[in-house]
């Protein structure tokens, strides 16, 4: 069982008290306890079981405009004392930074809705194994599958965030995850793909049989890929990766990147950076949402935020420090977005595929080829050639490249949005990207 609120509260309060006694003018403390149990199967046999029981404490002390941070996994009183002392000593010799401060009091969260993020239910390991076997059996029905690996992870976590302005709050969260990876072989060539389901509540998980079947189907489809000729072509991003475009957006509009002048979206507030029909929303209050929260990592209230409205960039993601620097109020996005998504498009998936005679449908990208300073993008990819809306053959060992300023402007969304991750996007088409191949 994860520790209750009372236990975490008392550690946080004592730490704040001790820091103040040592001369801290402000203090922020986070205490977390999490228990995670994972079971892995390979080819229907138990491969690994892993139990993790871990505490963490993070202490930030301020002496006026000086600041220092310390973290540890050891919650013993002695250790916390030693660490707090070290934290204060370090803060004393750290230069002033005029923007260092706790969040403004009036911005702190006051409404604590129940977001239904915790499921007490415990899945014993033998039940986990049964569930995974079901997934692997479904996957290995497909004869070309030569290897299956699955895992079931159950996470339970509780935390408290407290600061010396009197804020103290936290809550329990849980996560249940089933994933299945399959390897298929034809001649000497192998391919690998996967599917998974992650939910806050056990009973909401997708049937393991479906996960296994779709992992196998995804994998077998990839066999016998071709490398295509270099070309300028429309790229369709599968839902597995279309959300990546939102991750680029959120990194580029973080107040830190804007303030430091290292974002290609600096000074673009009020400008149309997406097509007029597009809206991007960050909604922290979705019940059972994988990214849901009542407040950000500084305790600031998080509310629904329309980042892109009719294609226009409406706001940055603002925390306290960079907010003060940019003369903006924190909008509760310290630590990033919550449940970020493109509002659903209007075009059916099939129509999107048929939008041009030839499109390249991408299911996976590899590499870290995004340059947030310039917006340049170049990554390895694989997927399928689509002609007249039909999947013709798998494609691999190619790259796709462009610049996000152009990519954003050339997006068309399908109407198949679903909430599978914390960041979600429907299938989307980007016209006129460059594919490098043969």
């Amino acid at each position: 069982m994860v520790k209750d609120q009372e236990y975490l509260n008392s550690i946080a309060s004592q730490t704040i008290e001790y820091s103040k006694k040592l001369g801290a003018t402000d203090v922020n403390v986070e205490v977390v306890h999490s228990i995670s149990e994972t079971v892995n199967l390979r080819n229907k046999q138990l491969d690994e079981s892993n139990r993790s029981d871990s505490f963490a404490i993070g202490i930030t002390t301020y002496i006026n405009k000086k600041k220092s941070t310390i973290s540890s996994s050891n919650l013993s009183k002695d250790n916390i004392k030693i660490l707090t002392e070290r934290c204060i000593e370090t803060a004393k010799i750290t230069p002033d930074d005029e923007f260092n401060s706790l969040p403004d009091k009036e911005l702190m969260a006051k409404n604590f809705e129940s977001l239904d993020l915790y499921d007490e239910f415990h899945v014993p390991n033998n039940k986990k194994i049964d569930i995974l076997r079901e997934a692997e059996e479904a996957a290995s029905k497909e004869t070309k599958i030569i290897n299956t690996e699955t895992d079931f992870t159950e996470n339970k976590s509780n935390f408290v965030l407290a600061n010396s302005n009197g804020f103290i709050n936290g809550y329990k969260t849980s996560n249940f995850n089933i994933s299945c990876v399959a390897v298929a072989k034809k001649d000497s060539q192998m391919e690998r793909d996967y599917d998974f389901t992650t939910k806050r509540h056990f009973s909401d998980l997708i049937n393991p049989k479906n996960i296994g079947e779709s992992a196998a189907a995804n994998t077998v489809k990839k066999l016998d890929p071709k490398k295509i000729k270099s070309d300028k072509i429309g790229i369709v991003f599968d839902k597995k990766i279309s959300k990546g475009i939102l991750n680029v957006l959120s990194s580029a509009i973080s107040a830190g990147a804007i303030s430091r002048g290292t974002s290609f979206l600096k000074n673009k507030i009020g400008e149309e950076i997406f097509p007029k029909s597009l809206n991007v929303i960050d909604d922290p209050k979705i019940k059972k949402g994988l990214g849901s929260k009542n407040f950000d990592s500084e305790g600031v209230e998080t509310n629904n935020l329309k980042l892109i409205e009719n294609g226009v960039l409406k706001s940055y993601l603002v925390d306290t420090y960079y907010g003060k620097k940019l003369n903006l109020k924190s909008n509760g996005r310290c630590g990033g977005t919550s449940n970020l998504y493109f509002e659903n498009g209007s075009m059916p998936f099939e129509t999107l595929l048929k939008s041009s005679k030839k499109n390249l449908y991408i299911t996976e990208t590899i590499g870290h080829g995004t340059n947030l300073v310039t917006g340049d993008y170049s990554v390895g990819a694989n997927g399928f050639m689509v002609e007249n809306g039909e999947f013709i053959y798998p494609v691999s060992e190619i790259t796709i490249a462009g610049n996000f300023k152009d990519i954003f402007k050339n997006i068309t969304l399908a109407n198949d949005l679903e909430f599978k991750y914390s960041t979600n996007a429907p299938t989307l088409l980007v016209e006129g990207m460059i594919v490098a191949g043969r």
Binding site: R42, Q45, D47, E48, S49, N50, R51, S52, D53, S54, F55, K67, S68, T69, I70, S71, S72, S73, N74, L83, R86, C87, T90, I93, T94, D97, N125, V183, M190, E191, R192, K222, P225, K227, S230, D231, K232, S259, R260, G261, T262, I366, H368, G369, N371, V373, T374, D376, S378, V379, G380, N382, S396, E397, T399, A401, I434, A436, G437, R438
Partner: protein, 470 residues
């Protein structure tokens, strides 16, 4: 060396008896204890932006029988907690019976000293250097729009208790100094990054104003990129510079030669042992024994002394990298490659310092032989799909080659290739092998560990360059 049981209701003898009792009927396993301290001091935007310190103490208890690994970890080093872990391991393996393998090689060799880099240099002097770095780079002109510089230091003590009271220990220092520069000219912005580090004190890397060299490199790379034109798209010849570009080897073939993927037959290399996987003249080793290098280890995280493992000799595949589990199941011995990020993670076979050894050609000869291609000098990160063998890496400094001459710099682009075939496309191996500056971190299964790479210049006949110019 710290006493891990100092503040607990256990001592070494009691802990050793729990370990022996738990692992009696298992094939292998250990109690791994770790006490790590780390610091990060960051200068950004003309200010000391962050000064943080972290201390982490905990254990990971592992039992293995057959192919099954049971693992339980916690940061509560107490009798209750370790007994609970023991029950958990026994429960997972209750239907299995193994025979404990007590054999573990011993060595007295050490590749770094027992020093604590965090305490060796005062906070004030670290802050002073970061401020000097900022002033030095900004004095290069108005085009400097952002400077970020950081120190990262780590001190990790580990103790491995195996069945029958066998205890193995190591103390590992690690530091890194990193500089990133953003330049702006005529509305165009570009970044340059450079860093150095390894397993000794900060001052060894900073002395003789060596930090200025790091600043100059970061500035130079950003400046080159300001002049860059869009990169070409398509297949062409690629000349790789010496040193850090060896992450090509790390991604293209290194991961594919790790024991676990080959035991499970999910690596594209699993059935190629003894066969030609690279051109003649290509020899690749993975060496954990280089003094003071970032990827070096005196013992691995299972207690096995590290070694210099020959992976590919003159183009022929000779060995995989093994931890104890995969070595046992593949009927071979551990190569001292069993590593974990921390006590929170299971052991996996991993790379240490992966190196392609020198050949006979000069870099000039390679460039002269290319009609049309690119010359890639520096890289960001890379990634590989072990199963299909496809890998990528991102250039951060590259030039076009036209008619045997180096031309304009080109924008960063991803290069993609096929691991099992790429080394057969290597037609010239340079005589200028160089180690990387000591900055690599390798990710696998969510675990990051410090690694090194090295290579001479090489000419690859054909690779796909992911630019935008058709």
């Amino acid at each position: 060396m710290s006493n891990f049981f100092k503040n607990s209701d256990l001592d070494n003898i009691k802990a050793e008896s729990i370990v022996s009792d738990t692992l009696n009927n298992c094939d292998d396993g250990e109690l791994y204890l770790e006490n790590s301290k780390s610091e990060s001091i960051l200068l950004d935007d003309n200010k000391i932006k962050n000064s943080s310190y972290s201390s982490d103490l905990g254990y990971g208890f592992r039992a293995i029988t057959g192919e099954v690994v049971a693992y339980s970890h916690s940061n509560d080093i107490s009798k209750d907690s370790i007994l609970k872990s023991s029950e958990n391991l026994k429960d997972t393996l209750k239907s299995k019976k193994g025979t404990y393998n007590h054999e573990i090689p011993k060595s007295n060799k050490k590749y770094y000293k027992d020093l604590n880099p965090i305490e060796e240099k005062s906070q004030n002097s670290k802050i002073k250097i970061l401020n000097e770095v900022n002033n030095y780079i900004r004095s290069k002109g108005d085009i400097v729009s952002q400077v970020t510089a950081s120190f990262l230091g780590e001190h990790k003590e580990i103790e491995i208790i195996r069945s029958n009271s066998e205890v193995l220990k190591d103390v590992r220092p690690l530091v890194r100094f990193n500089v990133s520069v953003v330049l702006e000219k005529n509305g165009k912005k570009e970044t340059g990054v450079y860093g150095i580090g390894g397993r000794q004190s900060y001052d060894e890397y900073l002395k003789n104003e060596n930090w200025k060299h790091v600043c100059d490199e970061a500035f130079r790379i950003a400046d080159v990129n300001l002049k860059s034109k869009p990169a070409p798209a398509g297949e062409m010849k690629v000349v790789l510079g010496p040193g850090w570009p060896a992450i090509l080897i790390h991604e293209a073939i290194g991961h594919g030669l790790e024991g676990d993927f080959n035991r499970k037959k999910t690596s594209a290399f699993h059935n190629l042992m003894g066969q030609r996987v690279a051109s003649e003249g290509v020899t690749i080793v993975d060496d954990g024994t280089l003094n003071l290098r970032r990827g070096s280890l005196t013992i691995d995280d299972e207690g096995t002394p590290t070694e210099n493992t020959v992976l590919i000799e003159n183009g022929i595949l000779k060995n995989f990298m093994q931890d104890r589990l995969n070595a046992r199941l593949m009927n071979t011995k551990s190569t001292g490659s069993g590593r974990r990020e921390s006590y929170k993670h299971v052991v996996l076979p991993r790379m240490r310092n992966t190196m392609m050894l020198s050949g006979k050609y000069s870099q000039d000869e390679m460039i002269k032989s290319v009609d049309k291609g690119i010359f890639a000098v520096s890289f960001g990160g890379g990634q590989v799909d072990i199963t299909s063998g496809k890998f990528v890496f991102n250039c951060t400094e590259a030039y076009e080659i036209n008619n045997g001459k180096i031309g304009s710099p080109i924008k960063g682009a991803t290069l993609i290739g096929d691991g099992p075939s790429i080394l057969k496309e290597v037609s010239m191996v340079g005589n200028d092998m160089k180690l990387d500056p000591g900055i690599g971190t390798c990710g696998k299964a969510g675990q990051g560990v410090p690694v090194g790479v090295a290579q001479p210049s090489i000419l690859i006949n054909k690779m796909t360059v992911g630019g935008t110019q058709l």
